[in-house]
Amino acid sequence: MGVDRRQFLKLAGIAGALGLGGSVGFQLLKPGSLDAAERMPTPYQMVFPKSQGNSEVMPNPKALKGRRWGMVIDMRKLTEEKARAAIQACNYYHNVPDIPGKQTIKWIWLTGYVNAFPEVENPFADPEIKNARFIAMCNHCDNPPCVRVCPTKATFQREDGIVMMDMHRCIGCRFCMAGCPYGSRSFNFRDPRPFIKKEYPLYPTRTKGVVEKCTFCSERLAVGKLPYCAEASGGAMVFGDVDDAGSELRRLLRSRYSIRRKPNLGTHPQVYYLV
């Protein structure tokens, strides 16, 4: 992008002084930036504009920038082995505890086709698809119900689409878990620390009483790296900017048929499965 933040603010100030308010001024300063938006905001987004994430005090120049991050999972490439490698990497680097039983914590996990896509059940579908194990994770929905229901803004959405958790803000009401139609969230019913086999010291552990989930490795993007799962999956999981028509992710989506989980709910999931 040609204009950096400082310059932009200055120009915006001038534009404001000249009375070029709103989108007109914006258009003059960054021509085409508005037309580039391919998706209309949902009604919810119009009423409640995104809560701002990271305050960019000192942006890392290497940080990856995207208008709207997404993930493509290539089911032809995703072997059980690659999937496990991806899951293991995520669990290790995020200190996801290994708690047995029904109070477990899951950020990214394997599940059956009928579980991931309960309403596209087809008894005669290609057995290769039907018997495949799918990766389930937070979809970083464009219109996320978990953000809508959270009473403290502990769950919020960044400008680049990532749905984040503020562990220090969360009161543990678990409304977001009721709201998420994909079962993507976990609650720390107990102190997770004793269940972390080997702690990765560079990522915070959590306390009991808060909700957590996949964050698209926002901490990695901030230093210019791809998410762990994408890196460990041997090319089966491709991370990229869904708003950038030239991205590898978009090329993949053009080349093959893709499905999303529960599209009928209008949450606009940003995880795409190539089948």
């Binding site: 919810y44 009423v47 409640f48 039983g101 029904k102 109070q103 477990t104 914590i105 899951k106 599940t111 009928v114 579980n115 991931a116 309960p118 309403e119 389930a136 119900p145 809508r148 229901v149 959270c150 009473p151 403290t152 803004k153 502990a154 803000r169 969360c170 009161i171 543990g172 009401c173 678990r174 409304f175 878990m177 009721a178 709201g179 998420c180 139609p181 994909y182 079962g183 976990s186 609650f187 720390n188 019913f189 107990r190 102190d191 009991k208 009483g209 808060v210 909700v211 529960k262 709910l265 209008g266 949450t267």
Partner: protein, 386 residues
């Protein structure tokens, strides 16, 4: 007026001490939960709300039902309710206090509860629920106390209280509507995704609340000399009758929509509750008990001879209570979460500690109710002695 709560019979004090013991036990259980986290409950990743939230939902209804007394009395000047309206308002206060306690014990981080006010989030229904619940508590405290105080002084209640009492009418409706919205607006939860959730809640509330009040009325009559009067009981019984019919009717409407449309993500929940799913059927005996109680209560309440019979009426009220309590206090929450969004079945049943905390909260409510009723009945007795 509060001093009226400080003198009482031996029975009164024994009762208070019993309640305090139960509250203490509940509090002890809560300390365990506070230390170990919600792991001590039967809740899980799949059923992330359990008994606490279910009781909260049920009691919001009991609180809202005070409107069934306030409305006829103040709006239609139905004098018969003059003697018991205050009992309805005080029941509402105790119920709202229990609601707030249940929400608090359900939080993973209770110490951060103020975040709801520090970071007001108008797009979250929980934010509005907090506002309407606290508002309703204040309205009823003020309205109840001021009218009672005036009654004691044998004066007409001050003029400014009228608008507050009128406000309490739509406000009562709002608390249960907002509580229904907690569930009704969630995508992907077929069991709750129904526009008649709020009316359904209100119908069951207007059955359960007055039923509890009738039972309390009988109890008070036994224990003190205060009698609400036969006509008041009879009118309340009619309200319970209509409301429980509506409750069952709304349920049947749900059944029709779900069963006739046959959309799996909607039918699976009802199947789980009423017939069991994939061999999981914890709740099946309960929900059928609820239905049986509901239908029996309707038969007993519709027939004027049984409805007016002072031994059969309390029995019918108990049936109504069981029916609505199982419906909201058990099935409503579990039924929404099972099966989970990935069509897996994880069942829920509360643990012993969870039940102890629940009983402790109910005991706290009973304590508040006892004290408020003691004051109210004390004032009434004084007035009648004059």
């Amino acid at each position: 007026m509060l001093e009226k709560a400080l003198s009482g019979s031996k029975l009164y004090w024994t009762w208070l001490i019993c309640l305090l013991v139960v509250i203490g036990a509940g509090f002890g259980a809560y300390l365990v939960q506070y230390n170990k986290g919600l792991m001590i409950t039967g809740m899980s990743r799949d059923v992330s709300w359990g008994f606490y939230i279910a009781q909260f939902t049920f009691l919001v209804g009991v609180a809202a039902s005070a409107v069934m007394l306030v409305l006829p009395y103040y709006l239609h000047h139905y004098k018969t309710f003059g003697r018991i309206t205050i009992l309805g308002e005080f029941l509402a206060i105790a119920a709202v206090i229990m609601c707030i306690l249940f929400i608090t014990v359900d939080l993973g981080k209770p110490s951060r509860i103020l975040n709801v006010m520090l970071h007001p989030t108008p797009n979250s229904i929980l934010f509005w629920d907090m506002i309407v619940l606290n508002g309703y508590l204040i309205i009823n405290l003020v309205a109840g106390w001021v009218t009672l105080e005036a009654e004691r002084k044998q004066l007409a209640p001050p003029g400014w209280i009228k608008p507050i009492i009128y406000l309490s009418i739509p406000w009562a409706v709002s608390i249960h509507t907002v509580t229904a919205f907690l569930y009704a607006g969630l995508p992907g939860r077929g069991f709750w995704l129904t526009a008649i959730m709020a009316p359904r809640f209100l119908a069951s509330a207007f059955a359960a609340g007055p039923a509890v009040l009738i039972l309390l009325g009988y109890l008070v009559k036994k224990l003190t000399r205060f009698d609400a009067g036969r006509e008041a009981f009879e009118t309340l019984a009619k309200i319970v009758c209509y409301a429980i019919i509506l409750h069952i009717f709304f349920f049947l409407l749900e059944v029709f929509t779900v069963a006739y449309s046959a959309i799996p993500s909607h039918t699976s929940h009802l199947k789980y509750l009423y017939f069991g799913l994939h061999g999981h059927n914890n709740l099946v005996p309960w929900v059928w008990t609820a239905l049986a109680c509901g239908f029996t209560a309707i038969v007993l309440l519709v027939n004027p001879r049984t409805r007016k019979n002072p031994t059969i009426l309390p029995f019918a009220c108990v049936l109504v209570f069981i029916c609505t309590w199982i419906d909201k206090g058990m099935a409503m929450i579990s039924g929404g979460f099972v099966p989970n969004p990935l069509h897996e079945v994880t069942e829920y049943s509360p643990t012993g500690l969870e039940l102890m905390i629940t009983i402790g909260v109910y005991a706290a409510g009973a304590l508040v109710l006892t004290i408020l009723y003691k004051v109210a009945l004390g004032v009434k007795a004084e007035e009648e002695a004059v």
